[in-house]
Each structure stands twice: as C-alpha cells, then as structure tokens.
C-alpha cells in the first residue's frame, strides 16, 4: 500500500466514526440540496442543458490546441503577457520571477485551486513574501495552516465557535457567536490589504477563446477587489479552462451556480480581457496569465477519461457522494476531493500511488447524475481500477481468478465444493471473527451469508424423480 493509501484508510476510518463531523457535513449539505433542487426546477430543461454543456466542453477539449492559441492571441493583443508552464515548478518560477521583477513584498490572493495544486503559498512564503488569502473560507483555512476541506466550500468542516476561537488567537479579536461579526472581523483585516498589496493573484473559472478573456465566479467580491486594486494582476489557470465563445457563458455561468451552490447565478461573474486599457481609470497596469499543464495533457491522452477535463469545478459530485459525506474532504489528501478528485488525481500524481481512490466509491452513480457537464465519473473509477491492475498485476489475485475459472467450468467439482462448503459452515462459528477465520475480512463487521441447503442442480434432479 502506498503512503497516500495508508493515510487515506487511516483518516477515513477515524472520520467515519466521528458522529459530530458527520452531522456537521449533513447539515451543511442538506441546505445545499434544498437550494439546488429549487433552482434546478426553474430550468425549462435541465437534462438538455447538461447535454449542451457537455457538447460545448467536448468541442473545447477536443480542439484544445486551436482554442488555446486563439485565446492567447486575443488576450495578448490587448497587452496581457501569457506564460506557459509544463509543471508546478515552472509555474512557481514564473510567478516568483514576476514578483521579483516588480520588487513586490505583499500579495493578495483570491481563491485559486491551481495554486493549491502547485503549493504556491509555500513557495511565496519561502521567498519571504507576505501572502494573504482573501476568500473568507480560504482565509480561515490559511490561518489554521490546513488545506481546503472542499474546493468550493473550503471551511465547511468548521463551526462558528471554532472560527471565533481562531480569530481570537490569531487576530486578537473579541469572542462572538455571530457569523456576521466574524465576517466583519475578516473584512476589516483584509480591506487594507487590497489597497496596499503590490500584486493580486487570482485563478480563472473559464477562458474565452473568441474574445480573449478570463471569467471569474465568486460571491464575496474579494476576487473583484484583487483584480481591481493592485498594480499587477497574475491569473493562474489550467489549460483545460477554455470555452470557444463568450455566449457559451450564458449556459455555463448559471449551471455552475445551480449545480455548485444552489444559486441562480453566483454573486459576481466578472470577465477580464487585459490590463487597464487606454481611457480606463483603474485596474492593474500589468496583467499576466500563467497557463498550467501539470499532467493535464496526460489525462487528455486517455480518450476514455478525457471528459474529466470538461470539469467546471462546481463541486456537485462531492456534495452528493456518500463516501465524501462520510470520510470528509481532508481524508483524500488531494487538491481536488470527492469523485472528480478520485478520477483526476491518479493522472496528475501517478496511478499506482493514488489507485486506492478508485475504490473510495460505492459506484452508485450519484456523482455522474449530479455532474452538469455529464462526466462519466463512476465508470472512470472502474476504468482506473482496471488500468491499475493491467499496469501492475497482482499475482495472487490472478491465481485466484484462474482457480475460480477452472472450478466453475467443471460441474462435478462445483458440486463437491458446495458440499464441502456446507459442511465447513457448520464449524465456522468456532473460529468466526478470530484470526483463524479465513473470511475474517468480511466477518469482522458483517454476517457471512448461509449457503443454501440444496443447490439448484440437486433441486432439479429431485424434482424430475
């Protein structure tokens, strides 16, 4: 077992038994479900909307080279500098290079999951820079020195008391039980930072090839401030974010909001098509876009699972996943949690070390059904299991299945085996649950089904007589 697999097993087991954790997650997600269903029912045809979204994304991903070049050409024509990074190290060096050139000291960040993916904050802090997360949930987990619990709701696992305690300790604020007051504390701390920060770093939800713009979706306004006030704006994004046309957003923005958070539209959906243009009064003087591959082309090269690149990171698959709802976001140990994380992490970080996530699924298909762009998530988990075994076969499993095949092809042997099984079952209670029990993995927490007193063949023979 890989270290990641052992950690997952350990944390998942602990959290599954944690009833407080479970009730917290259930409460949060029940509110989400009610809101999502109410908003979904307003669509005239949600299923057709999903199909159209899937087809547009299919077109974008299957002509990715063409659309990326179009996007880059258009956005560069308006004074943006585009950088290409094959991996996390290159992306970090590009960003550190821009910061060094500007002699910048302080950085304000709005939420950027690709930043989590390449451990950007650690690299910036190591270079002696002051980095502040401005998204409220991200700010909380940054103060706690932990990873986001959910890539849409980063602080979903915390209650107000814990946040109040954190603020008392880290910011010296007064204790409070009011969510509004807690938000005000963070707002006041962060307000000044937008104005004094030298550089703003953001992510991107979509990149529009036709017009050369990035689109950022948020509720709080922190990303808008990050992209408006500092003199330099750096946007870090994966290469798969491209959409062909601006009007495609008329579908993707509402679907992202509804599937992801049960909203008709997220608070702010903003498009940035360059730095401050002639005649404009504010906005950054420099705009850099960093395009990150980091093994996305590895996923692209697998036509069977290529549609995982259609993902718009709404988080709907996490919210409905019975595994996520029990083991929680941190157990995964990945940047992207839940079913989509279980599908893409083996491509981004290596199949053998992360194949265990393919088994973190009941294969119920709730994720596939929830996905607004119709990614075939639960089948991809099955394919990953197959691929992992094909790449590195397990000798005893192969031997066992060969033996099983041999047995099942010989009716006489099956008859003997079922007779032996029935006899052995009489003595099973003597060893059941102990370390001598051959079925211990099963009987530790479950009853072994009783073998029928008569096989079908025996029944058939007795009936004809």
């Amino acid at each position: 077992m890989s270290a990641a697999a052992e950690q997952f097993k350990h944390d998942a087991e602990r959290l599954t038994r944690d009833l407080r954790h479970r009730s917290l997650i259930q409460t949060a997600l029940k509110k989400y479900e009610a809101a999502r269903d109410a908003k979904k029912s307003r669509y005239r045809d949600w299923q057709s909307a999903r199909q159209t979204a899937a087809e547009i994304k299919w077109d974008a991903i299957n002509h990715l080279d063409k659309y990326l070049e179009e996007f880059v050409g258009k956005i560069e024509a308006r004074g943006t500098k585009v950088h290409w990074a094959s991996n996390g190290e290159q992306a970090r060096q590009i960003i550190l290079g821009i910061i060094g050139e500007k002699k910048a000291r302080s950085i304000i960040k709005s939420k950027v999951m690709t930043g989590e993916e390449i451990h950007l904050n650690e690299a910036l802090e190591k270079a002696g820079l002051i980095v502040v997360e401005s998204d409220f949930g991200e700010y909380i987990v940054q103060l706690r020195h932990e990873a986001p619990y959910h890539f849409v709701f980063p602080a979903m696992h915390l209650v107000r008391g814990e946040i109040s305690e954190l603020f008392q300790k880290e910011l010296g604020s007064k204790p409070t039980d009011e969510p509004e007051e807690l938000m005000m504390i963070a707002r006041q701390v962060l307000r000044g930072k937008y104005i004094t920060a030298d550089i703003g770093i953001s992510g991107a939800n979509f990149a529009i090839a036709e017009t050369g713009m990035i689109s950022i979706t948020e509720n709080e306004g922190n990303a808008r401030l990050t992209c408006a006030l500092p003199k330099v704006h750096i946007a870090l994004m994966g290469i798969e974010k491209v959409l062909p046309k601006l009007e495609d957003l008329a579908l993707f923005l509402p679907m992202l909001a509804t599937a992801g958070a049960g909203q008709a539209l997220t608070g702010y959906n903003s498009f940035y098509g360059g730095p401050r243009q002639p005649g404009e009064s504010d906005g950054p003087l420099e705009f850099h876009v960093v395009l990150l591959d980091n093994k996305r082309t590895h996923l692209l090269a697998d036509p069977e699972q290529r549609d995982a690149l259609h993902c718009i990171r709404c988080g709907a698959c996490l919210n409905v996943c019975p595994i996520y709802r029990n083991v929680g976001g941190h157990s995964y140990g990945t940047t992207y949690q839940g079913p989509i994380g279980s599908v893409i992490t083996p491509h981004l970080r290596g199949l053998q070390n992360w194949k265990h996530l393919s088994y973190a699924s009941s294969l119920c298909g709730a994720c596939t059904e929830a996905c607004p762009v119709k990614i075939d998530l639960h089948h991809h988990l099955l394919q990953s299991r197959r691929n992992a075994i094909a790449q590195r076969p397990i000798w005893w499993e192969r031997f066992a299945f060969k033996g099983f095949g041999f047995l099942m092809n010989r009716p006489a042997l099956v008859a003997i085996a079922s007779k032996l099984g029935r006899m052995a079952q009489i003595f099973h209670p003597l060893v059941k649950g102990t370390r001598f029990d051959p079925a211990r993995a099963w009987t530790r927490s479950r009853e072994l089904p009783v073998i029928a007193g008569q096989t079908f063949r025996e029944f058939w023979r007795s009936r004809r007589r």
Partner: protein, 230 residues
C-alpha cells in the same frame, strides 16, 4: 523548444485518438445538432423561463432581487429617482459619494449636492474606500437572474461598484433584458469590436456562506445593492 510549443505538441499528440461525445451513442452526430455551434443555439430554450411582456419581466426581476436581498425600485421619472436617492442619503447619512460621469449619474449626483469623488480619471483608492456609496450606471438588467450587467466603460471602472459599502445602480426601463443570452448578445453588439477590460454580472449584494452555510451579506463588497430604474 519553448514551453508553449512543447505543451501544444503534447496536446496535439494526445488528440490523435478521438474521444466519444458524452451522452451520444451515434458518434457521427451530436444530440442537439450537427456541431457545437448548433448545440449552443438552443441555450435559451433550456434556461429558466422569462415572460414576453415588459410587466412580466419587471415582476421576475423584482422577485429575483427580493430573493437576493437587493433593493429594486421602478420609478416614474427622474425627479422621483432624485427624491429616492436623497432619502437614501439621509437615511444612511452619506457624507461623500463616488460616481462617474454619465447622463443619469451627473443629474442624480447634482441633486444630492454631496462631495463627489469621480472615478473617470485615475483616483485614490483610499478615498474611494471612505465613500459611503458608489453610484453608477449599467449596461443592462437581466430579469432571468436579477443581475446588473456593468463594465469598466459603463460603470466608472472596476472598483466603483465593489469598494464602497452601498452600490446604487441607475438604470432605464429599456435596459431591462429578458435573459442571459440576450445580455451576451448585447455585449457583442455594443462592444464586439473593442471590449472593455472588465465586464461583470452583479447578482445581489456581496455575500458569503462560508460559516455553516449561513448567508452573510457584505462580505468584501457592498452590503447593500439598490437598483433605481426609471
């Protein structure tokens, strides 16, 4: 070889093997038309319904605004708008306001007779932060979602509509559009040859649900959003 070339090279190599279209079993065609361009034409048909008449659209916008905790008022004329604005200024005891020059904003701000920070030319962000309200025009209102469409050209730059604690939008009746596809069509016809560097759909006041999924207004942006439409 540059990184650009090596990434594009990897993409082209990966795309040598075609991938099936999701949800389509006949791989020679898409479910909703022959191509992606055709599939996209159907978008308005799937989105939430919007009535045809102006009255239905106003009612939908009003309902959406109420749900979003935005304040929407449909007013008779410019005088009424000025009166409403003065009432807001008194109620919240505004001392300074920020705005940009425009037909509606100039008239409204003159009626308020308060010190005014203009965001048409470069300005001091600290000063804007101290303003009690930001008053702007917009490109459109969207009935389907209760959104206000703004851009750096129509609404006084990037920060005016997000930094002050109260954002007041001045709109005209004919700016009320039915749905999102209509808003994107407007963007294309209005700016197609030269887009502003910033465009945003503002849907309600700034908000967060990060603490126990409880709605809190006024996260980092304005706590109040008022839309005055004449």
């Amino acid at each position: 070889m540059s990184e650009r070339e090596s990434i594009l090279g990897r993409i082209r190599e990966a795309l040598h093997v075609p991938a099936p279209v999701p949800g389509v079993h006949d791989h020679n065609r898409l479910a909703h038309g022959a191509s992606e361009a055709e599939a996209a034409k159907h978008i308005p048909e799937w989105l939430p319904a919007v009535g045809d008449s102006f009255e239905e659209r106003v009612e939908l916008f009003r309902a959406n605004a109420a749900e979003l905790k935005a304040d929407f008022r449909l007013l008779g004329d410019a005088r009424e708008l000025e009166a409403q604005l003065r009432a807001l200024a008194t109620a919240e005891s505004w001392k300074t306001i920020a705005s940009h020059s425009g037909e509606m904003t100039d008239r409204a701000c003159a009626a308020l007779a308060l010190p005014r920070l203009a965001t048409d030319q470069s300005y001091d962000a600290n000063e804007l932060e101290r303003c009690d309200a930001g008053i702007s025009e917009c490109d459109a209102l969207v009935a389907q979602t209760g959104s206000v469409l703004v851009s750096s050209r129509s609404a006084g730059g990037r920060a005016l509509s997000v930094l002050p604690p109260h954002h007041v939008v001045l709109a005209r009746r004919e700016q009320l559009l039915a749905d999102l596809p209509a808003a994107f069509a407007l963007l294309k016809s209005k700016y197609g040859s030269n887009y502003p560097s910033f465009i945003s759909f503002i849907t309600g006041p700034s908000r967060t649900g990060d603490i126990e999924r409880i709605l809190v207004l006024g996260a980092h942006g304005p706590r109040r959003l008022t839309i005055l439409c004449v």
